[in-house]
């Protein structure tokens, strides 16, 4: 081969050139082949798709979130444009003052001198000028508080929160940069400080909201200041320019509104909640004696139904929708393959809590899209789809009224601990005068619609807006918890009417059959299960031989314990007790439209499988609501509504059926014996309305004795009340520690060995319940259920009874319990003592 080549090309130079020509052809061939490869087949398609994407100018058209209404079509939430006031971060951090001081010092010292100074000298020189500018910042906060109608503390808190948030972002970014540098340079942690890798985040150069949702008047006031600042700045610039032109020394700085240049009203699309703050006029003439006043109270209720309605927040990467329903659709290789117009991307709003969250998919809607081809100018538009409106079952006016009644407001006083709540044993905490927490539910028996659901203490938009972090770490009052649905308590004696109807239905108790309760306790050798009257201080009294109506009236434990024993001995077994309670809706979620707790309820087979005498004792305690189950106030309300309906269980709901997505609510029939319901209601009737003849036969919700003066629990004319109280034993509430010190020692919930320790007792005693079935006088059956639970409040009748009574008044005022009576003249010779 080599020799042939030499024969053809005897010149070595030419042979070498031939070699080079071959190299040239090879390289050119490679480049041509690669060009062909890139411009054909799959690479061509992928490139063209990528390019086509860039040629489309896409503008998203925002959607309108669905509105929210109450049962009477009063608007609860809507999207509307609004205004916030934002302030540049340099003002929040104080950097603005230092920058301005440096500018002032530079002007005072002259450019040349300033240039020759060291950094330290410059700082010293600028210091005397700083005070004025810091004062300007303080004045700004005060003025903004005044314009916004807020206490200065609120502005201060918002300021602190902004600084803390941006500080956290900076710290995270700097830490990440440090980690990156450590990895890149293979250095140890100690070698690189955070200062070396300080990373400025975008938020440090941005403005942040300090006032929200301004009225036009407030906005105008802000603009007056901003315009003044702009005019002043312009005039100052002219003066400086003039002085420079004439070669005169720099004039003194007379600007006083300079800081307003850092203030910026910002137009934002707002989720507006018209009922967030609502004034309610409360009649206090029917309150218990010490709280009674002749003068009505105009109470301003903040955060009306906030727990139910919820609020809005920015979506973040921890949200499920971020991965499950993203705006940008990706394939398995991480390449973008399209968009879901209803999907989520950064800065989108998403519901936080309440219906805003639970019905996010219904309310959200889908954004529209306008696409313009940049090369051809062709335009296509996909219109936005507005979110669906949602109608709640709440009566917002009733809700506001009940929230006013149950507020920690001493002018009303119902939610404060009283000595007569606990007589005779007072717990250490809550002490008389201390605020009580609790919940109330009002349910329409006909259809299971929740008319009002109140949690005390409540939350407001302000809490979510500024301090949601703090809100969710505050466990003492757990304001974030919506107690009607998420509060889980032992139901206590409120179970008894339900058990009575069930026992009669099962035939283990005759409607008029009497049981012997003269022993005062269920078991011969133990005082653990006894009637509340069977105590030393009562002279070991007993109820004697009583029927089921009397047993409910006086709330006999022994009577119902015996029913459990009868079930145990019957074909049904002890498991029948939890079975019945489950049928009443306990221990299961109702699907009311909001996040709710299921509570706990032992399963029948589990109960039967318990060792030795435990099935009997557990079943006995279950009949009086003290063991084997824990329930939410909503479940208690739904169970008693089921009793009132004669056994038809209708799941309670907060959302009107026409707004509920998915299948209709599933109801079921317990087929309670008519005599069972009759006896249970009769017992509840007597509990509320029977004064008794010998004291011990009086209804447990008949009367209270505030400061020794006897008065009826229920005093609403024209309304018939069937009630049952419950006083449920509860484990003490202990502090959940998140740091800090107690008696000089750090307090935690986990000790050095990793063992769980318990915080100090915050509250102790019994939860007080009252369930009331109410209806207008003359109606054969009640129309509404009212349930109130008062945490660690003591006697149910004494603590929750007056609250239920006021809710009944509120229902009547709102027209739910028949025609309103003619207003009686208020006799008020002497007002009661102020509630402690």
């Amino acid at each position: 081969m080599r020799s042939i080549l030499r024969d053809i090309l005897p010149s070595m130079f030419h042979r070498r050139l031939l070699l080079l020509v071959m190299v040239v052809l090879l390289l050119v061939g490679i480049l041509a082949a690669k060009t062909a490869h890139l411009t054909t087949g799959g690479l061509f398609v992928a490139s063209q798709e990528e390019l086509e994407k860039r040629l489309r100018q896409t503008t998203l058209i925002p959607t309108v979130r669905g509105k929210m209404y109450d049962r009477k079509n009063r608007l609860l939430a809507e999207d509307r444009p609004g205004w916030d006031v934002q302030v540049h971060f340099s003002v929040f951090s104080g950097d603005w003052a230092f920058d301005q001081a440096a500018d002032a010092a530079r002007r005072a010292y002259g450019k040349a001198t300033w240039k020759g100074m060291t950094l330290a000298e410059k700082q010293v020189a600028a210091e005397p000028f700083g005070a004025d500018f810091l004062l300007q910042i303080n004045r700004l906060w005060v003025t903004l508080a005044e314009v916004g109608g807020l206490p200065p503390q609120v502005i201060e808190r918002r300021q602190r929160l902004v600084v803390a948030r941006v500080g956290r972002l900076t710290a995270n970014a700097s830490a990440y940069a440090r980690k990156q540098r450590m990895e890149r340079l293979n250095m140890d942690r100690e070698d690189i400080s955070f200062t070396d890798t300080y990373t400025r985040v975008r938020e440090e150069g941005q403005s942040h909201a300090i006032l929200y949702d301004l009225t036009p008047e407030q906005l105008e006031t802000i603009y007056v200041f901003v315009d003044k600042a702009k005019l002043e700045e312009e005039a100052w610039r002219q003066t400086v320019k003039e002085a420079r032109r004439k070669g005169e020394p720099m004039p003194p700085d007379t600007r006083s509104y300079g800081i307003w240049l850092m203030v910026e009203p910002q137009r934002v699309n707002k989720r507006s909640y018209p009922w967030e703050s609502h004034a309610v006029l409360l009649d206090r003439t029917t309150l218990p004696g010490p709280m009674r006043r002749s003068k009505p109270l105009e109470a301003q209720v903040e955060g009306v139904a906030r727990h139910v309605i919820g609020s809005m927040r920015r979506v973040n990467k921890d949200d499920r929708v971020w991965t499950e329903k993203p705006y940008k659709l990706m394939d398995e290789n991480g390449d973008r393959v399209g968009s879901d117009l209803a999907g989520y991307q950064a800065d989108d709003l998403i519901g936080r809590g309440g219906i805003e969250s639970s019905m996010e998919s219904v309310l959200r809607g889908s954004r529209g899209r306008h696409v313009r081809r940049r090369d051809t100018g062709a335009e296509t538009t996909t219109p936005p789809v507005a979110g669906h409106d949602v109608r709640l079952t709440l009566d917002i006016q009733l809700q506001a009224r009940i929230q006013a009644l149950m507020a920690h407001d001493r002018r009303v006083g119902l939610m404060f601990s009283q000595e007569w709540h606990h007589a005779p044993d007072m717990p250490k905490s809550p002490k008389p005068g201390e605020p009580l927490n609790g919940a109330a539910v009002v349910l329409d028996i006909d259809n299971g619609e929740v008319l009002a659901a109140v949690s005390t203490p409540g939350v407001t938009l302000e809490d979510f807006r500024d301090a949601s972090r703090g809100l969710y770490t505050e466990h003492r009052d757990a304001r974030y918890r919506f107690r009607p649905l998420e509060g889980v308590y032992d139901p206590g004696s409120t179970n008894k009417p339900l058990i009575a109807a069930a026992a009669i239905t099962d035939g283990i108790l005759g409607p008029n059959e009497k049981l012997d309760c003269s022993r005062g306790k269920l078991w011969e050798n133990s005082n653990a299960f006894r009637d509340w009257i069977y105590r030393k201080r009562n002279g070991w009294q007993t109820f004697g031989e009583i029927n089921v109506v009397q047993a409910i009236t006086v709330s006999s434990n022994v009577f119902f314990g015996q029913l459990a024993q009868r079930w145990g001995m019957s074909e049904f077994g002890y498991g029948r007790v939890p079975w019945w309670l489950s049928q009443y809706g306990m221990g299961r979620k109702a699907g009311c439209g909001l996040n709710e707790a299921a509570g706990t309820l032992i399963r029948p087979n589990e109960l039967e499988a318990l060792p030795a005498t435990q099935p009997e004792s557990t079943a006995a305690y279950m009949t009086i609501g003290e063991a084997g189950l824990s329930v939410t106030p909503l479940q208690v309300a739904a169970a008693h509504a089921t009793l009132a309906r004669g056994g038809l269980y209708i799941p309670p709901t907060l959302v009107m059926d026409d707004s509920r997505p998915g299948p209709p609510r599933e109801t079921w029939q317990l087929n309670l014996a008519p005599s069972g319901r009759d006896r249970a209601l009769k017992g509840m009737d007597r509990s509320a309305n029977y004064k008794g003849t010998i004291g011990s036969d009086r209804g447990t919700t008949y009367q209270i004795k505030p400061q020794g003066k006897t008065e009826r629990v229920f005093n609403c004319p024209g309304v018939h009340v069937y009630a049952k109280s419950g006083t449920a034993q509860a484990a003490p509430q202990r502090a959940v520690h998140t740091g800090g010190k107690l008696n000089g020692r750090p307090i935690r919930n986990v000790d050095a060995q990793g063992r769980v320790t318990y915080g100090e007792v915050v509250r102790e005693g019994n939860h007080g319940w009252v369930v009331a079935l109410v209806g207008p006088d003359g109606e054969t059956l009640p129309t509404h259920v009212v349930v109130v639970v008062m945490e660690y409040a003591g006697s149910g009748g004494a603590s929750a009874g007056p609250v239920v009574n006021q809710i009944i008044h509120a229902l009547r005022t709102e027209g739910y319990l028949g025609e309103l009576p003619v207003e009686p003249a208020i006799e008020s010779d002497s007002d009661g003592e102020a509630a402690r």
Binding site: S11, M12, F13, H14, R16, L17, L19, L20, V21, V24, L25, L27, V28, L31, A32, K34, T35, A36, L38, T39, T40, L43, F44, A46, S47, Q48, E50, L51, R54, L55, R184, L185, N186, G334, D335, R374, D375
Partner: protein
């Protein structure tokens, strides 16, 4: 008959010059149209200022006798090295030596920014050819030392600007000249093997060695990494280090077989910004506008031109001309391979122009000077008494 007329007459006879000039002019026309697509203002300057000057210089370089140029080659090479040193002198005001894209590669002269490294390329090849003219010392390994020193000096100076792209073309030019000049292939392939080993070792170091063991600069490492990622289908870097290359590949790929055409391609580049589209990334414009056909034709024209250079080299007996044509051809081919290679994603991004096509006065001027010199060599008749050179 004047000397120039005689030269012209020689050029009219069929020969390899017929490949060189039309190919060069066709590439220039493609370049002007491509620049016009993405930067009409630059395109206008290219065709009204840079191109006339370059064509004039090409004609001028056809005038002097090769021997005259050979004698002056070392002097001119020294001048260009002096200019390269001047670029690196600290405290020279930026009004004279501007920093463009982080490099001190230009001298601000009226009309255009003059790039001494482009001038150095021409005189390096001429000096090399003049040096090897009647030597056979390069047949031994020791004899390769001086040519390598001759290469290393400008390369180092250009690297210090820094301008890696331009520095890259010197070694292949030397290699090609040595091949043509009759250096022993086993020596050259040993050196090539060593060079390849160094490149492979460097890639290995970039990919696997800890940071303190890296040889290349941080941005160079990143470019290599991003190129490898992109080539393996990993698009995670497309918003960072692979940004330019990814865009260039996308724009090229989207051109398809026939391209978008002038109007649509202009719209595409307006809305899909490609940095340095009219300059280093001009091949992406060509493929986007004229598609695969345009790209293959362009590369083919370069092939024709470089083969033409080698043909002229083969047909002339003047040893200066023989080696100069090879050196110029190698330089142009290297530039094409690196530039097109980085646009197509087979080589990492580095700043290098596409000869005759990219926007730029110095690049166009000195490429046309190379063309002029090649035509000069082609236009000289065979010296009757000349003996064959580089025949060992």
């Amino acid at each position: 008959m004047s000397e120039f007329a005689k030269q012209f007459k020689t050029l009219l006879k069929p020969g390899f010059a017929w490949l060189v000039l039309p190919a060069g002019l066709a590439l220039t026309a493609i370049g002007v149209m491509a620049i016009d697509t993405v930067a009409p203002r630059s395109g206008n300057i290219q065709k009204t200022v840079n191109l006339p000057i370059a064509l004039l210089c090409m004609l001028l370089t056809m005038v002097p006798h090769p021997r005259t140029m050979g004698r002056a080659s070392f002097l001119l090479f020294g001048v260009s090295l002096g200019l390269l040193v001047f670029l690196l002198v600290p405290f020279v005001p930026r009004s004279i030596v501007p920093v463009i894209n982080g490099a001190r590669s230009w001298i601000d002269t009226p009309g255009m920014n003059f790039q001494p490294s482009e001038m150095t390329k021409v005189f390096f090849v001429l000096s090399l050819a003049w040096y090897f003219r009647f030597r056979k010392s390069h047949r031994s390994l020791l004899g390769l030392v001086f040519p390598f020193v001759l290469m290393v000096v400008p390369v180092m100076l250009i690297m210090m600007q820094p301008d890696l792209g331009t520095a890259l073309v010197f070694a292949p030019a030397l290699f090609a000249v040595l091949v043509a000049a009759g250096a022993k292939l086993r020596h050259l392939f040993s050196l090539l093997g060593l060079g390849t080993l160094l490149v492979v070792a460097n890639i290995g170091i970039i990919l696997y060695a800890p940071p303190h063991m890296q040889v290349l600069k941080d941005h160079q490492q990143r470019r290599v990494r991003s190129m490898i990622k992109l080539a393996s289908g990993d698009t995670s870097d497309i918003q960072a280090d692979a940004y330019q290359q990814y865009k260039a590949m996308t724009l090229s790929g989207a051109g398809g077989v026939w391209g978008y055409g002038a109007e649509q391609s202009r719209e595409v580049f307006e809305n899909f910004h490609l940095p340095e589209a009219h300059n280093d990334m001009i091949f992406a414009v060509i493929v986007n506008r004229w598609g695969m056909v345009g790209g293959v034709v362009t590369v083919g024209l370069y092939g024709v031109m470089v083969v033409g250079f080698l043909g002229v080299s083969a047909s002339t007996r003047d040893p200066l001309g023989r080696l100069s044509c090879v050196g110029f051809g190698a330089m142009i081919l290297t530039q094409v391979v690196v530039n097109v290679g980085m646009t197509l994603g087979i080589l990492p991004i580095t700043g290098i122009t596409l000869p005759l096509i990219s926007y730029g006065g110095s690049s166009l001027l000195f490429t046309f000077i190379m063309l002029g010199l090649v035509l000069n060599f082609a236009s000289r008749g065979r010296a009757m008494m000349a003996r064959d050179s580089f025949e060992f």
